[in-house]
C-alpha cells in the first residue's frame, strides 16, 4: 500500500486486480483510464479461477496491451503488490470466500463486491473483518464507484460517451454516495449538470448490511479538502440517515450536504410489497422516507421537496461555494469499431456482401423469406434452391422440376468415375468429406458436365437463328461432339426412360419448349446418321431447364443466359450426385470394405 491519506480510496495511480474474467468491464475501465489521461492502466491483473495463467489483450487508448491472468488471487497479488483494490465479480455463492481472502491479503486495501444475493450473515461478517483490518468494502450488490479523472470500479458510469457527458474524466468538487447502483449514472449526470462535477461517487449497494455505509463514506469525504460539498441519495428503511444527522451535530460532517431519501411513496403500499432493494423497507415510522427527509432538514441538511428539484438544490448549494470550475477539454474518445458503428460515427466498406440469406434476426431468412414460411408453405427443396440460387420464388411446377432433376441425377451406379473414386477413398479409410470430394473432383467436361455444355451450345445455336442442320454441320466442321447428344447403350429403339420423364414433364407444364423442340430436330438429324446419337439425359435436362427459365416468366432472357454461364446447371448435377456419393461412401463403410488395390493383371505394363 502506498502512503496516501486515509480519506483517499483511489487516485490516478490506483491499480486493481479483477477477480473473474470480465472482459467488458476491464475494457470499460481502460477506456475510462485513457479518457482521464492516466499513465498506467487501472487494471494490474486478472484472476481467472477456472482458467490457466496467461494474458488478456485489451486496448489502452489506441494501443493494445497485455494484462496478466492468474488462476489465484495470491499469485496475482504477489506479482502485483502495488495493486491495492480487488474488484470481485465472483458469484453470490463464492463471493464471501473470495472477498474474505482479498480482505486478508496484506496488499489489498479495498474490495468491491459486485454480486447480488450474498447472504446477509456473510455480508455482515465481511463488513466486520474489513472494519477490524481498517479496510474498505464497496458492495455487495453494487456497480461500484468512481473517482473522477482517476479510477473507476468495473462498469460504473456506463458507456464512455456517458462518462464524458457526465464530466467524469476530470476532477470536480462534489462527493456523492448512494445505495442504489442503478441511479448512480443518473446522479453523476445531475451533479455534472449542476456543479463543476464529481470528485468521487459510490453506490454502496441496496442490501441490508453493505460493507461500507453511507455515513462512513460521507465522513471520509468530509475529511478530503478537495471535496467541497456532499450529496447523498438515501432510501426508505434502516437508520443510516440518522447517523448522518448525528455526524452533522457532532462535527463529523461540516461541509454543505444535499440529501434526498427516496421511497416517499412507500406508505401507499400494503405491507409485504418488497419494492426496490432488500434493505428498503421501513420497519417503523422512524425509518420512513418522510421522517428521514424531515429529520435531515431539521438538522441542517439541504433537502429538496421532491426528487424533481434535487438538481436545483445541488446547483444552489454549489453556487454558494463560489468555486471556479477548472476547464479540462473533453478527451478524444477512442471508440471500439462496433460501438462507433452503433453510434453512426464510422463507416467502412464491407469485405463481403451477402444477398441470399440473413441469420441476424430472430429467424434465418432465405432471400428475405423467414424459414418458418418456407416450411409452412411447403416450398420443398426445389423452392429452397429457387430462393437461394436464383433469389426468387418460382411457380410450383418449376420447384417440382428441380426436384425431378435432383432425383434423376442422384446416382448412376458404382461404375461412373465419381462414385468409383468415392468408394476407393472410403475404402482407404478416409472420412466422409474427403471421400465425397474425391468423387466430386471428377465432375467436369467428361463426367456430368454435359448439362451446362448442352444448354449453352443449343441455346447459342437457337439464339443465332441457325437451323438445326446448320448447327450440326457447324459442329462437325469444328470437329466437336455435340454435347448432350449420344449414349453408350441407349438408342432410338431403346429409349432412356429418364429422358422420357423429363420431356413429358416439360411438355405438360412449361408454357413453351422452344429449345427442346429445336434439340429434337437436331436429334432427328444425328440419329439418321447413327442410331445411338440420341438426345441423352444430360442434354435433355440442360435444354429443358433453359426452356423452364425462359418460359416461366420469372427470368429475363439475359438472366436465364447468365445462370447457365455461371454454372447453375452443373450445380444441379453436383448437388444431386452428392446424394449418390454419400450413399456409396456409407455403403462401403457399412460393408467394412478393405483398402482397394487395383490388380496388376488389369494394368498393362508396357
Amino acid at each position: 500500500m502506498n502512503n496516501k491519506p486515509d480519506y483517499i480510496l483511489f487516485d490516478k495511480d490506483t491499480q486493481a486486480i479483477i477477480f473473474n474474467y470480465q472482459q467488458n468491464a476491464i475494457q470499460r475501465m481502460l477506456d475510462f483510464d485513457h479518457a482521464c489521461a492516466r499513465k498506467t492502466p487501472s487494471v494490474a491483473s486478472i484472476v481467472n479461477p477456472t482458467g490457466k495463467a496467461g494474458f488478456h489483450k485489451a486496448y489502452f487508448g489506441q494501443k493494445e496491451i497485455l494484462i496478466p491472468i492468474y488462476p489465484t488471487l495470491k499469485e496475482a497479488s504477489d506479482n502485483h503488490p502495488h495493486a491495492d483494490v480487488v474488484i470481485n465479480f465472483a458469484s453470490f455463492r463464492s463471493s464471501y470466500a473470495t472477498s474474505k481472502e482479498a480482505l486478508e491479503n496484506k496488499n489489498i486495501r479495498t474490495v468491491a463486491i459486485i454480486a447480488e444475493g450474498v447472504p446477509e450473515a456473510r455480508a455482515r461478517e465481511l463488513a466486520e473483518i474489513a472494519k477490524l483490518k481498517k479496510k474498505w468494502i464497496i458492495g455487495p450488490a453494487t456497480v461500484g464507484g468512481v473517482v473522477a479523472g482517476a479510477f473507476k470500479i468495473g462498469n460504473t458510469a456506463g458507456t464512455i460517451d456517458n462518462i464524458i457527458e457526465s464530466k467524469l474524466y476530470k476532477q470536480g468538487t462534489v462527493g456523492f454516495v448512494s445505495k442504489s447502483g442503478g441511479m448512480s449514472n443518473e446522479m453523476y449526470n445531475i451533479i455534472a449538470r449542476n456543479t463543476d462535477g464529481l470528485y468521487e461517487g459510490h453506490a454502496i449497494g441496496g442490501d441490508r448490511y453493505p460493507g461500507s455505509t453511507l455515513i462512513e463514506h460521507l465522513l471520509r469525504m468530509n475529511k478530503n479538502p478537495d471535496i467541497k460539498m456532499l450529496v447523498c441519495l438515501g432510501e426508505v428503511g434502516g437508520e443510516d440517515e440518522y447517523q448522518i444527522i448525528d455526524a452533522m451535530k457532532n462535527g463529523g460532517i461540516t461541509k454543505p450536504i444535499v440529501c434526498w431519501v427516496t421511497g416517499t411513496c412507500a406508505s401507499m403500499f400494503s405491507s409485504g410489497v418488497q419494492f426496490g432493494h432488500a434493505g428498503a423497507r421501513a420497519d417503523s415510522n422512524r425509518e420512513t422516507a418522510k421522517a428521514k427527509n424531515e429529520a435531515l432538514k431539521n438538522a441542517g441538511a439541504i433537502v429538496p421537496n421532491s426528487f424533481d428539484d434535487f438538481g436545483e438544490k445541488i446547483n444552489d448549494t454549489w453556487k454558494k461555494l463560489n468555486i471556479k470550475e477548472k476547464v479540462v477539454p473533453a478527451p478524444k474518445v477512442t471508440l471500439d469499431y462496433n460501438e462507433a458503428k452503433a453510434l453512426g460515427m464510422v463507416r467502412k466498406s464491407s469485405n463481403f456482401i451477402c444477398t441470399i440469406s440473413d441469420d441476424r434476426g430472430e429467424e434465418v431468412t432465405y432471400n428475405k423469406m423467414p424459414l418458418s414460411k418456407v416450411i409452412n408453405e411447403g416450398l420443398g427443396i426445389g423452392g429452397v434452391i429457387s430462393l437461394l440460387w436464383f433469389k426468387r420464388q418460382l411457380p410450383d411446377y418449376c420447384h417440382r422440376f428441380i426436384e425431378i432433376i435432383l432425383q434423376v441425377c442422384a446416382d448412376h451406379g458404382p461404375a461412373v468415375s465419381g462414385a468409383h473414386n468415392t468408394a476407393v477413398t472410403a475404402r482407404a479409410g478416409k472420412d466422409l468429406i474427403s471421400s465425397i470430394v474425391s468423387g466430386m473432383l471428377t465432375i467436369g467436361p467428361r463426367f456430368g458436365g454435359a448439362l451446362d455444355g448442352a444448354a449453352s451450345d443449343f441455346s447459342h445455336a437457337l439464339d443465332s437463328n441457325m437451323t438445326p442442320l446448320e448447327f450440326v454441320n457447324s459442329m462437325k466442321k469444328k470437329g466437336d461432339n455435340i454435347q448432350g447428344i449420344g449414349h453408350r447403350i441407349k438408342s432410338v429403339q431403346n429409349p432412356d426412360i429418364r429422358v422420357t420423364i423429363i420431356k413429358e414433364f416439360a411438355r405438360k407444364h412449361f408454357p413453351s419448349c422452344k429449345l427442346l423442340d429445336y434439340a429434337l430436330e437436331v436429334e432427328k438429324i444425328t440419329t439418321s446418321k447413327r442410331n445411338n446419337l440420341i438426345l441423352n439425359v444430360d442434354g435433355c435436362i440442360g435444354i429443358c431447364f433453359v426452356d423452364m427459365m425462359r418460359s416461366c416468366g420469372s427470368f429475363t432472357l439475359e438472366e436465364a443466359k447468365e445462370y447457365v454461364d455461371m454454372g447453375a446447371l452443373n450445380a444441379l448435377f453436383v448437388l444431386a450426385r452428392t446424394i449418390g456419393f454419400t450413399g456409396h461412401y456409407l455403403d462401403q463403410k457399412r460393408l467394412k470394405q478393405p483398402l482397394y488395390r487395383h490388380p496388376w493383371d488389369d494394368i498393362a505394363f508396357l
Binding site: 456497480v143 442503478g182 449514472n185 401507499m268 419494492f275 432488500a278
Partner: protein, 427 residues
C-alpha cells in the same frame, strides 16, 4: 432477495429437527400438523396418530400474529372439534386487527398441535443487526410482553463471536431455579440454529418448561432467502407465503411469472387501476423515484401502478410488460385522458434502442386505443444507444399521430412527471 417470513409450521419443524443436535437436553418432539384446503383429515390422522389422543390447539398459520385477540385460536378441542373449527373457517375471508392496522384476507392454512398444560410463559427472540445477533429474554412472556418490555433482558453476540464464549447468566435470571440450566441450553441451541440456518428473525413467545423440558408454544420466524444456497437442505421443503391479505391480480401474476423465468427483473404492482398516471420505468432505483415524485406532487390517488423493468430485458419481455400496462390502461376511459410515463435514468448496460423496439411494437398495436383514450406519452431515458431509441419512439409518435414527448439525459429525470400532471389538468 430479502428477509422473508415463513410458516410457524416450518419454523417448528426446523426446531424439532435441529434442537436435539444443538442442545444437550432439549427434547422438543415437534408434534405439529399443517392443514391446507386439500388436506384429507383421515390421512392426516394416520400420519399424526397423536391427533386422536388428547386435547389440541388450532390456529391459522399465515404470517400474522395476535390470533388469540382476533378470535382465531382454538384451545383444548379434540380432533373432531378441530376439524369442525377449521372447516368453518377454511377459505373464508376474515379481517384481522394488528398493531399495524387491519388486514382482510382468506384463511387457507391452519396448524394443529397438542395442547400443553403449562403455568409459566417465557419470551425469547433473536434479531439481527449490523453489529450482531441480539437475544431477548423475559420471564414475562405471552401476549403482554410488549407491555412488560422493561422486563426483557438482551444480549448481543457480536459478529464473528461465538455464543459459547458468552455469559448468559445475566440474560437468564436465577429466579428460574432448577429450570435455568435447561433454558440456557435451549437459548444457546436456538442461537446456533438461527445462525446455521440463515434466520434473520426468530421469536418464540411464549415458550414454557414442562418437567425441565422446553416447549415452544408460539413461533414467528423470518429467513434470509439469499442464504438458500447454504441452507435450503436444512430448511427442507418450505414455501415463502405472501403476507396475509396480499392479493395478486392476474396481470401482476403474468409479470411475476415472466420475472421468474427471466434473467432480467420485471415487477408490477397495481395500485389503482382507475388512476390516470401509469408508469413504465426502467431500473429499481428510478422506479421508486418516479412513484415518489407522483406522490410528492400530490397525485397519490392518480398513481395507477408501481413497477420496474431492468437488467437488459429482451424485446419480447419488454413487449409483454408494455402490453400488460397498456391493456389495463385502456380498459376505462377518462374524459381528460391519461398519461403513460416511460421513464428511466441513464442505463449502465441496457440497450435503450432494443428495449424501445419492444415498446414501439406495442404502441403500434394499441395506436387506435391510444388516440381514442387520449393517452399522452412521456419518455425520458439515457444509456447505451439512447439517441437511436429516443429517435425511434419520437418518429413513431409522429407516424401514428399519438402524443409522445421525448427527453434524454439533458432533462432532469423526473421532469416528465410535472409535465404529465399539468397536461392532465391535475394541478
Amino acid at each position: 432477495m430479502a428477509q422473508k417470513g415463513i410458516r410457524e409450521f416450518d419454523a417448528k419443524r426446523m426446531l424439532a429437527r435441529f434442537l436435539p443436535e444443538y442442545t444437550s437436553s432439549v427434547k422438543y418432539d415437534g408434534k405439529i400438523a399443517l392443514v391446507t384446503p386439500t388436506t384429507d383429515f383421515n390421512q392426516l390422522a394416520k400420519d399424526y396418530p397423536w391427533l386422536n389422543s388428547g386435547k389440541l390447539v388450532v390456529k391459522p398459520d399465515q404470517l400474522f400474529g395476535k390470533r388469540g385477540k382476533n378470535n382465531l385460536l382454538l384451545i383444548g378441542a379434540d380432533f373432531q372439534g378441530a376439524q369442525k373449527w377449521i372447516n368453518e373457517r377454511m377459505n373464508k375471508e376474515v379481517t384481522i386487527k394488528q398493531t399495524t392496522g387491519t388486514t382482510t384476507g382468506v384463511l387457507t392454512h391452519f396448524m394443529i398441535e397438542p395442547m400443553v398444560e403449562h403455568k409459566d410463559e417465557y419470551y425469547v427472540a433473536i434479531k439481527s443487526s449490523r453489529a450482531g445477533d441480539t437475544i431477548y429474554f423475559s420471564l414475562q412472556g405471552g401476549i403482554n410482553v410488549e407491555e412488560n418490555w422493561d422486563k426483557v433482558k438482551e444480549l448481543t453476540v457480536p459478529v464473528l463471536e461465538s455464543i459459547d464464549s458468552q455469559n448468559l447468566n445475566h440474560l437468564v435470571p436465577s429466579d428460574l431455579g432448577s429450570q435455568k440450566e435447561a433454558v440456557i441450553d435451549f437459548i444457546k441451541g436456538l442461537f446456533k440454529i438461527y445462525q446455521k440456518l440463515n434466520f434473520s428473525y426468530l421469536e418464540i413467545n411464549p415458550f414454557t418448561v414442562v418437567q425441565n423440558n422446553v416447549v415452544p408454544l408460539d413461533t414467528v420466524a423470518k429467513l434470509d432467502d439469499t442464504g438458500a444456497f447454504e441452507s435450503s437442505k436444512d430448511w427442507g421443503a418450505i414455501d415463502f407465503p405472501p403476507s396475509f391479505g396480499m392479493k395478486t391480480r392476474p396481470e401482476e401474476q403474468v409479470i411475476k411469472e415472466l420475472d421468474e423465468k427471466s434473467g432480467s427483473s420485471l415487477k408490477l404492482t397495481i395500485i389503482n387501476p382507475e388512476g390516470r398516471i401509469w408508469l413504465m420505468v426502467a431500473g429499481g432505483g428510478a422506479s421508486v423515484i418516479y412513484a415518489d415524485t407522483v406522490v410528492d406532487l400530490g397525485q397519490m390517488k392518480e398513481l395507477a401502478n408501481y413497477g420496474e423493468y431492468s437488467g437488459n430485458p429482451t424485446t419480447d419481455e419488454t413487449q409483454v410488460y408494455a402490453e400488460t400496462i397498456l391493456e389495463m390502461m385502456t380498459r376505462t376511459k377518462h374524459p381528460q385522458g391519461k398519461a403513460l410515463l416511460i421513464g428511466g435514468g441513464i442505463a449502465n448496460f441496457t440497450d435503450v434502442a432494443k428495449t424501445f423496439t419492444g415498446i414501439n411494437n406495442v404502441l403500434r398495436k394499441y395506436q387506435a386505443k391510444l388516440r381514442d383514450h387520449n393517452i399522452k406519452i412521456y419518455v425520458r431515458r439515457g444509456g447505451p444507444n439512447y439517441l437511436e431509441g429516443l429517435e425511434k419512439i419520437k418518429k413513431l409518435g409522429e407516424e401514428l399521430n399519438i402524443s409522445i414527448e421525448v427527453y434524454g439525459p439533458e432533462t432532469h429525470m423526473t421532469k416528465i412527471v410535472p409535465l404529465a400532471v399539468k397536461a392532465l389538468g391535475l394541478n
